[in-house]
Symmetry: D2
Subunit: 294 residues, 4 copies
Amino acid sequence: MPATLAWNRYGKSRIRLVKVRRCAEPSRSPTSSGNPNGPHEIVDLTIDVQLEGDFEPVYVEGDNRRCLPTDTMKNTVYAFARHDPVVDVETFATKLAEHFVAKTGVTRVRISAEQAQWNRISPAGRPNPNAFVQAGSEQWTAVVTRDRDGVDIVSGVTNLVVLKTTDSAFTGYPRDEYTTLPEASDRILATSITAAWKYRRGTTDFKARERIRSALVDTFASHKSESVQHTLYAMAEAAMAASVDVTEITLTLPNRHHVLVDLTPFGLDNPNEIFVATDQPFGLIEATVRRSRS
Amino acid sequence: MPATLAWNRYGKSRIRLVKVRRCAEPSRSPTSSGNPNGPHEIVDLTIDVQLEGDFEPVYVEGDNRRCLPTDTMKNTVYAFARHDPVVDVETFATKLAEHFVAKTGVTRVRISAEQAQWNRISPAGRPNPNAFVQAGSEQWTAVVTRDRDGVDIVSGVTNLVVLKTTDSAFTGYPRDEYTTLPEASDRILATSITAAWKYRRGTTDFKARERIRSALVDTFASHKSESVQHTLYAMAEAAMAASVDVTEITLTLPNRHHVLVDLTPFGLDNPNEIFVATDQPFGLIEATVRRSRS
Amino acid sequence: MPATLAWNRYGKSRIRLVKVRRCAEPSRSPTSSGNPNGPHEIVDLTIDVQLEGDFEPVYVEGDNRRCLPTDTMKNTVYAFARHDPVVDVETFATKLAEHFVAKTGVTRVRISAEQAQWNRISPAGRPNPNAFVQAGSEQWTAVVTRDRDGVDIVSGVTNLVVLKTTDSAFTGYPRDEYTTLPEASDRILATSITAAWKYRRGTTDFKARERIRSALVDTFASHKSESVQHTLYAMAEAAMAASVDVTEITLTLPNRHHVLVDLTPFGLDNPNEIFVATDQPFGLIEATVRRSRS
Amino acid sequence: MPATLAWNRYGKSRIRLVKVRRCAEPSRSPTSSGNPNGPHEIVDLTIDVQLEGDFEPVYVEGDNRRCLPTDTMKNTVYAFARHDPVVDVETFATKLAEHFVAKTGVTRVRISAEQAQWNRISPAGRPNPNAFVQAGSEQWTAVVTRDRDGVDIVSGVTNLVVLKTTDSAFTGYPRDEYTTLPEASDRILATSITAAWKYRRGTTDFKARERIRSALVDTFASHKSESVQHTLYAMAEAAMAASVDVTEITLTLPNRHHVLVDLTPFGLDNPNEIFVATDQPFGLIEATVRRSRS
């Protein structure tokens, strides 16, 4: 049958890498040789490697001469991690992307990473040099794409769960024959933030993540919200204000509905106090906000 | 700050709908009034509604006059299901899409559905008219997209898990300094098939799903595989051969690695018999195959 | 501080084992040497090994001389699987239990297994000898416990999801000041069956599982249900009637509520036709039914 | 067939309750009427209600006269939460247990709760009065059991993930014909702590949780570990030392194995620096430590 391979991509997913930096604060003095008795640092990554390219013979003829095994991709990640300090995941991912884009047939490489967050265990306020507690389900993300045009770097956060108990309304919306939702002038607003921001080409300093994360969370907290969309836009603006290197940001905000329980059958009022948290269905609000050229 | 809303989408996700058709085989004689004592049929859907459009005022100004509540979307799905027989999910989703695309500001509607599979309980081979057992984790999918250009319909399957114990090899691949994988002339091949095929505009008969599903599974079983990619392409060709209405198909095939256990430390051989099934990392192979215009 | 180790247990969880039987139907003619070109069979198990015993020195003093590594437990499972046909998981698990109970300090061994179900891929009704499709989320379970008193064997099924559209009611229940539930004379009943039945000591034939599974499912389908409890009891009785070797059975039946959607705001009736399937909260009904000594 | 109902339990699971305390710090001055403009507090609970009792007629005869609907249990939880400040979940759960144990037929009530942890969003170190960020996957647990003998209260934590990069060894263990594990004098130790401690009857102050949690985490960090068991025991002792009201504690510690990657094929050493984090199989260590009567 006349068919053509219109698009293809392959690689290794969920390569789990934990690196222990066994010297004192290499991230701050990378040229120092380190102190072997100093505090340890850990980097906890889950990495996906994906290649696109001219791989028709692999698909159509079963000819593997261009098909770098995904097992080799995994090995490469571990080997690269040995001598790379992995100070920031964006730079580490870029090195991996440069390595794979040089392989025969490859036209585009996508390195995607999630970084789990760990805090030091600190008995009585004194940080333990070698022990950590996981900071939660929040993950830091990075996606590096390398093709003939160059490198694009998108960083982000995901699973960052926030909730506010006031300063959120949803009113003035259109009603049709299927609308039953009562207007809410004061509701709970809760979401799990996924954000992904794109850096301008040539960015080398990726420390903006902390500032952007704070801008997102603090704006969520302080915004007088007319809708999830309204708050999303304010969060996006704040994120871009936090770093001049960010050219655009995409936010994905599921609306984790908290429904006021009707207690009147039990002779009780419910002055915005007792809610049932629901998992599904949920609203889902997504948008990309871009810095204007001026 | 000078910023613009570059893209936006919102809607309701995971609307859980179970419809019981309480009359005899309405899917085959939809004009009949049905037999109330006949066998029941069930349709078990999880639906996402997503709208794109000219919604800048919602985001930028908190003006909700165009913001149809996602709660209304949910209500609409249930109300439409009341009088629609939901014989095939593609047609039902298209009606929903037509409804929402007429709303003020909307430029594009995406209705996405997953259909859980149920079989009749059949004691001693006699089907019970009203009782069902879930057929497994396999889901049938449909995505209907409606914009100014018209309607696109993509159907598929997901979570369809298959395994073969022979006729799968992976040899002849390039080796670099990070390659340790031994060549395998006879290995286990296992995957969880996700397939999504696009119908030509104007298709109204969506019964091809069964034929396409069989083509995918049977080709997986019979193919002499040189790689996941090689089998993917054969499966895609077979799927398109099964329905002339299919213009392209995208397959996503995670490689569920089964690693031969080294039993030599225990004085045992392992002639392709004892495997450890691993979850991560996993290979991930994706491609789109398109029907050629001839 | 004066403290004592009151109870302890340790072991390896989620040992993933796939065995390919590369000879013709050993399960039916186990003494035959098999036909290497015959059809393959697969056994897909996830096994937990757990030991209890006199291990105080391990906990209190850090003395590991009695602490068989959990890694060794894993190796043992794979090595035992090499020469055991694993015709039924109960017998295989019993052999493992006998092995571990002989270790120094061990007083009790628990081997727990889940078996994934695979069907042959059968193009045009002809079974492929080497290719399989996963039968769904249903798993077969076995728990073998070995201590000084002997061996107890409990088999079961889990994740067996069933639904009926009629012959289920819930009426006549007590009402208090917090009751709002309307009585239902005809509702959807859906559950995910977990069953675990205990065999009398000395049972060696474990083929009863198919009969018991059918008894559970068929009774669910045909029972005139006054409550989940009522149907649970009928299912338990039917299961015990299906095998004289079963001395008791425990059933765990979550009530997967399907809530009738109120369509009256849209001018529509809803004659038991449109339901929302909910995940949480859910009713949970559990009971053990025991064969009476008579 | 002669069968008897040997044991039964039923109830409602996963009742999701979020309570907003809309007055100033009621937890510290419960007699105050509160300040409506003060900071909000949230309590985020998932509650299971389970009843045991003399319910044979429900199961055997389909007689529901004693079968309090699980829907009523859910309503009761929400109604009780309206006027209870839910300062600690143990006291709230005890009130629910007292309510249900008075119902006809009930002999035993089990109220189980998980409490999600939220921190205030604090821009520039100043806590927002109404906005929160989820502290992670850690949950606080409580199980209250009420029967004729009285009330037992077990509190705990779960999903508390910790890791240490040194001071953990595993050596001196027995070797058999299936042992291949190399001894490790310095390894990563990682686990997800689940702890459940029992209070002596009559305990009314449940603020010990913070101290016990700190004792568990700090001991994990500082202990010179010879095995997971060894550290478990030290953690249990420390927990009991942190509160005289605790009579016993059960710890469940999965061993989240971090395997040193062999980099020698790539001409690289690996001085305890590059690890692969594995999900399965995993070691699982459980024990109960009890305060001695002296």
